[in-house]
């Protein structure tokens, strides 16, 4: 167990990181992500427009246009367009719940996020944190079959669909989403009932509990950002390759923090970009490794790197000057004082297994 954002969490279960990783890619992995912050953003008038407008003042995603029962990825931005945190926003499936949005934020950022959101809300909109709520993710190609045995109707859900449900009779909120690049679900449940849900899922032979170590290798291979490493207050969503998460209307209209910088970067291109990097040899390049061009000039830095068990070799991502961000560009990684050959690649490293219909 290691301390992680104030929680004791396992780096690995006795299975080991590579086996946990592979189990998730080939069958199903089970993740306790209860450390993440869950909160409701709620408008007194019960109108979606009210709560959506309040949140759109803080993030660049199109929330007005978010449909019932849909989830969207976005970022809380500072006035310079830097990323304070990344988060998931869900609009409840039933029109009876209009005026509410479910937010899921990172554990290490949640106190700062909640304070920032609360300080910037208009009258009539409040943030209500749900500290007594657990979050359990099940990810992998067998996740749908397993979850369907406990939660009726989940096999019909599309990627990023979200709704209320019952797990063996326990009230839950379930989304078809996750952060591994695989198909899967995230199950929000009262903390007092979390153990029952976890135990029921873990009892399946097809399901393997997964710790922090494999969670990191899975999201790295999937090309997904880890807050505080691949994105932070200095990086913009455009530099980070997250432009897909900024709706067309928002790009045109602005109206979110740092819109000037972000609209300029969209028009002119950012000066640096997040890219995938594949070392040629077997030596992993860790976070902080300097990236150099073929003339040995520094062009960037690795923000996440290690061994990709599914790739079967080292993988990394980091920021490079925009001129070097084209896939197949050869670069050097300075590992223990030696230049190791590598090249820029398109992310993700492994094709996603999302359920799109």
């Amino acid at each position: 167990m290691v301390p992680f954002a104030g929680y004791d969490m396992p780096v690995q279960y006795p299975t080991g990181i590579i086996r946990e990783h592979t189990a998730t890619r080939t069958s199903a992995g089970l993740f306790d992500v209860s450390h993440m912050g869950q909160a409701w953003l709620e408008a007194d008038d019960g109108r979606h427009e009210t709560v959506a407008n309040a949140l759109e003042a803080l993030i660049p995603a199109d929330i007005l246009g978010l449909e019932h029962g849909r989830q969207r990825y976005s970022q809380l931005l500072n006035a310079q367009g830097g990323i304070l945190d990344d988060l998931m926003v869900t609009r409840p499936a039933s029109a009876d719940e209009d005026g509410r949005l479910l937010l899921v934020v990172n554990a290490a950022c949640k106190e700062a996020d909640y304070a920032h959101i609360a300080a910037n809300l208009p009258a009539g909109v409040t943030l209500n944190r749900m500290d007594e709520r657990a979050l359990i993710a099940i990810q992998g190609p067998k996740a749908a079959d397993v979850v369907a045995l406990h939660v009726p109707g989940t096999s019909d859900m599309a990627f990023m669909d979200s709704r209320h449900g019952t797990f063996d009779g326990i009230d839950i909120h379930v989304s078809r989403s996750g952060y591994t690049g695989e198909d899967g679900y995230e199950i929000s449940v009262a903390a007092s009932r979390a153990e029952a849900v976890w135990s029921a899922l873990a009892a399946h032979e097809r399901v393997t509990p997964v710790g922090l170590g494999a969670r990191d290798t899975l999201r790295l291979e999937a090309g997904l950002c880890l807050y505080g490493h691949d994105i932070d207050e200095t990086t913009s969503p455009v530099e980070a390759g997250l432009l897909w998460s900024i709706g067309k209307r928002r790009r045109a209209e602005g109206g979110f923090p740092g819109a000037n910088r972000i609209q300029r970067e969209i028009a002119e291109g950012p000066s640096r970009r997040r890219v995938g990097i594949r070392p040629t040899g077997r030596a992993p390049a860790r976070e902080g490794t300097v990236i150099a061009d073929m003339g040995a000039s520094e062009i960037g830095i690795v923000t996440s790197g290690g061994f990709g068990p599914t790739v079967g070799g080292p993988v990394a991502m980091g920021y490079v000057d925009a001129g070097h961000a084209v896939p197949d560009t050869p670069v050097s990684l300075i590992v223990r004082g030696r230049a190791e050959a590598a090249h820029v690649v398109r992310l993700p490293f492994v094709p996603p297994g999302f359920h799109r219909d």
Partner: protein, 123 residues
């Protein structure tokens, strides 16, 4: 007979040559080994000085030379199968052989019982 360091390396002596690797305890703490960087044959190493690097999925760790001398052989097989360090750490997962410059340094290493007690203390 194996001898051990506080940095969790083991040493097996054969004449003037010592075979060196990391202990079963070390590999279990590291987890899945994915890369091993070995010194060049002929390189001089100093007892307690950096001699190799072992990388698990999570992190890179230094391996220190238990003894002073010259590297006389390295286990090239680890380049293609680093997981041998997990599977057989005190056998086929050896790292290097050192031609010892000062055999008296062996007296400063732990025997198996002392190492076991040391690991339990660290527990």
């Amino acid at each position: 007979m194996l001898r051990f360091t506080k940095d969790h390396e083991w040493v097996r002596v054969d004449g003037d040559e010592a075979t060196v690797g990391i202990t079963d305890f070390a590999q279990s703490q590291l987890g899945d080994v994915v890369y091993v960087e070995l010194p060049g044959v002929g390189r001089s190493v100093t007892a307690g000085g950096e001699a190799a690097v072992v990388e698990s999925v999570k992190a890179a760790s230094e391996v220190y030379a238990p003894l002073t001398g010259e590297v006389s052989a390295v286990n090239d097989a680890l380049a293609d199968s680093p997981s041998t360090v997990n599977e057989d750490p005190q056998g086929n997962g050896w790292f290097m052989k050192i031609r010892m410059a000062n055999k008296a340094e062996l007296d400063g290493l732990m025997d198996e019982d002392a190492y076991k007690a040391f690991v339990e203390e660290q527990g």
